[in-house]
């Protein structure tokens, strides 16, 4: 299991692995939105939590189709399926690797980009916390979506269409936590619900994803 995690991380950091891609996209969103909306810091401060959450969501969407499609193409998915690892574990590890290179990285750079967007000072810890709690759900849900489109040649666009509606609850609660944090409101309820979605997805979706992989291998 650890070997698989290390391999996926190594591959992500090697050339063409897509590690920088998500971060660069995230940065672009944070730079382009003020250019589009206008430089008024009051408006930016209000929309900052939402923009950062949507940016994080799209950045993590960007690299989803690599999770399984590459392994399917070069045959390692077959070999992994016959290896002494449960497929559910393979899915969980791959989602974890995806989270480490996208979700975690995005969480860590989010405060820097929040400066660009004039996020009120009170919002920083909550923005970080909401991303840290919510992005694992984005990776697991995305990994599930990726297993549905493994066998398709141009599955990228379809994958986005399948995954986006599944992302809605995570986005709503995650952005709500960040927004309420920035406005200094009570946020225990959305935070608890966000954590519940993450925990539930982590616990159940690997099984659905493993079933989908088995269907695709046959």
């Amino acid at each position: 299991m650890i070997a698989l995690l290390l391999r996926d991380l190594t591959l992500a950091f090697r050339a063409g692995g897509g590690f920088g891609l998500g971060l660069a996209f995230f940065l672009l969103v944070a730079v382009l939105v003020p250019l589009g909306v206008g430089p008024e810091s009051g408006i930016l401060a209000i929309i900052a939590p939402g923009i950062l959450w949507v940016g994080a969501l799209l950045a993590s969407l960007l690299s989803l189709d690599r999770i399984f499609a590459l392994d399917h193409e070069d045959g390692s998915l077959d070999l992994l399926a016959t290896a002494p690892l449960p497929l559910e574990g393979v899915v969980a590890i791959k989602a974890l690797a995806h989270w480490l290179v996208t979700g975690l990285a995005l969480t860590l750079v989010a405060p820097l980009l929040a400066v660009l967007l004039n996020l009120p000072a009170a919002g920083y810890p909550w923005l970080l916390l909401s991303l840290a709690v919510g992005t694992p759900a984005l990776s697991v849900i995305g990994a599930f979506g990726a297993t549905l489109t493994i066998g398709l040649r141009r599955g990228g666009l379809l994958l986005s269409l399948l995954v986006l509606p599944l992302y809605v609850p995570t986005l709503v609660f995650g952005a709500e936590v960040a927004r309420r944090g920035a406005a200094g409101m009570a946020l225990a309820t959305p935070l608890a619900l966000l954590a519940a979605i993450t925990a539930g997805s982590l616990a159940l979706l690997p099984f659905a994803a493993a079933a989908a992989i088995r269907v695709n291998l046959r």
Binding site: I2, A3, L4, R7, T10, L11, R14, A15, G16, G17, D74, G75, S76, D78, L79, L80, A81, T82, A83, P84, L85, L217, R218
Partner: protein, 216 residues
């Protein structure tokens, strides 16, 4: 570990392509599968490896004793030869030394730090086959193992298989090339081809094509 296969039927694309397949593979023996292209050698091997469900029949060996090597080598182009192999060694829990020993056996030690992307087709194939050595599993299922190997490499690989058999392992090989294995018997799959291709029971094909005439 004895691999016994009895009355096995396998399907591809919703059609039964082989049925009544039966053989026993004893430790120390090899069985070469022969048959024209498209007869279902790959399908049979994948079914035995547990990657796809059998239509019916028994396979005695648990998937835990089988090591499957497909057409594709499952190599990561961005990793070195050694890193590729060490990964599989740790997945199969055979330890750090297994990868080095396997590289040596397949005469890849000199290339171990090269990225897999920079290996030639034959070298990649050898690296893919070296993976079998690090699985530590007794029954090898090999799908066209000699593709893109030159004569010397074929002989090298035949030696590796022979050593595996001598150590009490066994191998089921789909190939057109004579590996020169004295321990090998041959099984012609042509005999198991159904006289008329029929859809799998319970599949979409059978449900909609029972050949009893038009739908009402």
């Amino acid at each position: 570990m004895e691999l016994r296969v009895g009355n096995l039927a396998v399907s591809r694309g919703g059609l039964v392509v082989l049925e009544g397949v039966g053989f026993t593979l004893h430790p120390g023996r090899a069985l070469v599968l022969r048959g024209a292209n498209g007869i279902g050698k790959t399908t049979l091997l994948r079914t035995i490896a547990g990657l796809q469900p059998a239509v019916c029949g028994e396979i005695s060996a648990a998937p835990e004793c089988l090591a499957y090597a497909s057409h594709a080598d499952g190599l990561k182009a961005a990793l070195s030869a050694r890193a590729n192999l060490s990964f599989w060694a740790s997945v199969f829990g055979t330890g750090r030394d297994a990868a080095g020993a396997a590289l040596e056996r397949m005469e890849l030690t000199g290339l171990q730090d090269r990225l897999a992307a920079q290996l030639s087709a034959g070298q990649k194939r050898r690296l893919g086959l070296a993976r079998l050595l690090v699985t530590g599993r007794p029954v090898w299922l090999l799908d066209e193992p000699t593709v893109s190997l030159d004569q010397a490499a074929v002989a090298l690989f035949a030696g590796v298989v022979r050593a595996h058999l001598a150590a009490g392992g066994s191998a089921l090989i789909a190939t057109h090339i004579d590996l020169g294995l004295d321990e090998a018997e041959t099984l012609d799959l042509g005999a198991f081809r159904p006289r008329q291709l029929r859809p799998v029971a319970g599949g979409f094909g059978e449900a909609f094509d029972d050949a009893t005439g038009a739908l009402p």
